[in-house]
């Protein structure tokens, strides 16, 4: 879709302003989530953010950093680790770990440890952006607590580049934990849901609580004593149910999680469907997916951030019509539970058969006005959310 378009790669704010001056624009960081949202109606140029790269300011004593939007998240984490800090998001990074801080923010993507640290929206404390009319503006600031002015950054988070080009972000950092362990408990979805309810009702404070690959993954991070004690308590819960479990730590733990998380992005030939429910909706969501996939004749692999209420299904086998049918059926079930379903990566033909990004009509009128006021000519990825926006 974007292969034949001219690419502008600004390296300064002034160049970024020039790059957005005309045409229908697609903002691209690492290019790992270009297929999220609807396919834009029309595009004239790509604005590549990778030239807006690097740490501009790192106040390690205040645990904040200001970075160019095109900074690869992996590179940032590497630098922050030198001072025992990190930006507490762990989303898929994609091929060659290309995902950028700005891209992760614009897509509103997080990862398993959102359970503990909140979504990326809560970690970005300041923003600089360029609107399509050339306005360069900032919101927020550089301190972790700040309520001066509107929190415009919230609108940009998850806007998929439809409001303007984010050029710089200031983020709150967290200390890297002293210890980390994961208990992987073999459990089918029904058993895992019951086990989750027990952990959820206890005083345990897991940083991640996921169900994937036929098991519940419970991760603890913090001080050695706290991590060990909590792990033991969960192990006892598993033993009571006679469920097998294994402890992961060190590089093996990191690699296991990295593998799980990277798989969330899906493979060519797969359709990736993201559902959300309340935390107690995991069991029903898993069951509804099994039924929807069976009915449509496709295979479905589920990875749930159970404690957050986010469920990623990867569909394979079957044609586009079957993928669309499975997604639509699952959506019906999840909406009945008060949740939502959006479609991310998909095989050709799915988008024609099912709405990939249905926005709640209640808020849509104000959202469209926001779009009209910030991007009056509708030049930023026009059509990604709906007609005209």
């Amino acid at each position: 879709m974007t292969n034949d378009l001219p690419v502008f790669r600004p390296t300064t704010l002034a160049e970024a302003r020039e790059a957005v001056a005309e045409g229908a624009l697609l903002f691209r960081g690492g290019g790992t989530k270009l297929d999220w949202g609807r396919a834009p109606a029309h595009l004239d140029r790509v604005v590549d953010t990778t030239g807006l790269n690097g740490i501009r300011e790192w106040n390690a004593a205040d645990m904040t950093a200001t970075v160019g939007a095109g900074t690869p998240l992996a590179a940032l984490q590497g630098q922050l680790a030198e001072a025992g800090q990190w930006l507490a998001v762990d989303p898929p990074l994609g091929a060659e770990a290309a995902a950028t801080v700005g891209g992760v923010f614009a897509a509103g993507d997080s990862g398993p440890r959102r359970l503990r640290f909140g979504p990326v929206r809560d970690l970005v404390i300041g923003l600089v952006f360029v609107l399509s009319d050339g306005t360069v503006a900032r919101s927020g600031g550089k301190v972790i607590k700040n309520v001066a002015g509107y929190d415009v950054a919230k609108l940009f988070c998850g806007s998929l580049g439809t409001l303007g080009l984010v050029t710089e972000l200031t983020v709150r950092l967290h200390p890297r934990p002293e210890a980390s362990r994961t208990l992987r408990i073999g459990a089918d979805a029904g058993t895992a849901a019951a086990l989750f309810a027990e952990v959820w009702a206890s005083h345990l404070e897991p940083v991640a609580l996921d169900w994937a690959g036929g098991g519940l993954w419970v991760r603890f991070q913090g001080r050695v004593a706290g991590v060990e004690a909590q792990l033991q308590r969960v192990r006892l819960l598993a033993e009571k149910r006679a469920l097998p479990s294994e402890v992961l730590e060190g590089p093996a733990e990191e690699e296991a999680w990295r593998g799980l998380v990277e798989a969330l992005a899906g493979q060519p030939g797969e359709t990736v469907v993201r559902g959300s429910t309340l935390p107690d909706g995991f069991g029903p969501a898993a069951e509804a997916l099994r039924a929807a996939a069976g009915e449509a004749g496709v295979e479905a692999v589920l990875h749930s951030h159970v404690g957050i209420g986010l469920h990623t299904a990867r569909l394979s086998g079957g044609d586009a019509a079957a993928h669309a049918r499975a997604a639509a059926t699952w959506r019906q079930s999840l909406e009945a539970l008060g949740g939502h379903v959006v479609i991310r990566r998909r095989i050709p033909g799915v988008e024609e058969a099912v709405d990939v990004l249905p926005v709640d009509p209640a808020g849509a009128a104000i959202m469209k006005r926001v779009k009209d006021l910030l991007d009056p000519e509708s030049r930023c990825a026009p059509g990604r959310f709906g007609e005209g926006w």
């Binding site: 004593a61 909140g118 900032r138 972790i144 309520v147 509107y150 929190d151 609108l155 998850g158 309340l278």
Partner: protein, 480 residues
Amino acid sequence: MTGLRDTLAEILGPEGVFDHPAQRRTYECDGLTAYRVAPSLVALPRTTAEVTRVVQACARAGVPVVPRGAGSGLSAGALPAANGVLIGLARMQRILAVDPANRQMTVQAGVTNNEVNRAAAPHGLYFAPDPSSGVVCTVGGNVAENSGGAHCLKYGFTSHHILALEVVLPDGTVTRLGASAPDPPGYDLRGALVGSEGTTGVVTEVTLRLLRKPEVVRTMVGDFASPSAAGAAVAGLVGAGIVPAAVEMIDNLAIQACEDAVGAGFSRTAGAVLIVELDGVPGDVEAEFEAARRLCIEAGATHLRVAADAAERALIWAGRKAAFAAVGHLSPDYVVQDGVIPRGRLPEVLDRIGRKSREAGMRVANVFHAGDGNLHPLVLYDGAREGEAARALRLSIEIVELCVDYGGSISGEHGIGFEKAGSMPRMFSRDDLDVMQRVRAAFDPAGRCNPGKIFPAPGLCGEGTYRRSPLEEAATVRQP
């Protein structure tokens, strides 16, 4: 206004509308009493339907509306419009749904933080934002100001704990923003509305996120020779990778006031006391509490008192939370300020505040959320003395603008309101403010909802006080 009064009386009943001057005067200010304006009318609805009809009537009449919760705000954010209707939401006190399994609760906007916590407590849950005014302040007010409190260092601000909002827009339409389940598709309007200080609509219902009460809580109070020494201890904690639930500092002047009022046992001779609280699972808390103790001693703590039980902890917090009111023991009047600085700069900024206080010949007490750099200097004055109130307000604004010079913010939790609208250009460029105004227009194109708040009056624009835009800054940096 007589016609509008009659319309509102039809909607709310005669007891739901105030138009007598004495009644209206009750609503002429919020917690920042230095600014007072009596509204034309006061409307006190009980339901969303009533709010809707009131706002519709005001829209038809072309009259501004100002929403108000408990009136405990400290930035004149609920200052009435002289020609407008003040909508008091304190009668909307129903808790609509409690969902302990999903750690959520839906309440009407006039429910207080205390009532939320009372309803959550039987389930072992609580609402994290804890402004000092929690006994009276409303959830709707928390949403408007994006309130914080002592524990947001670890648990975040109101914005992090709001899942969905029901809001009556200035044209009288009702809409629901956000959702109980995470990540509803579309722009995060709920996120934009939280902290918009009543300038985007009237919030009528709130679905909020609750947290599990921590298994253990440990609290200590350290005495230090000076605020700077206590500030060094804070830097030590942050540097050691400890994220306490709360770190609060009270300077000597404020200690006297707290002790007079509550008698929480703070050392009257200390230059400053630091309250450090850790919570979580026992293994983590014990290790970090011990580390925090060591760091306080290394930073020069002359005495450490560890709360023996929940009662002693409650007493310590009662002392801290009474600080603002207690300053009334020291001075007939005072103004509370709210600024933020990077945590590493605490000692320097406290020295600068001390100098400004001496130059102005006015006493300044300091009580603040040291863990996140959120200062609350209290400027003491006597309103009966000619010109002293004006001098106090000026000093207080100077102090908060000083925070901007150190890379900080003019508000950490109290909001901009009417009080600091004129200081916004110190922090934001004309274009920054223009973008915020565009967002506002998406909700309130006519600017009838809480006018005169947050944004500086248009007349200020030409005075050259505006902060340079990011583009201008970048251009300057790049010059050889």
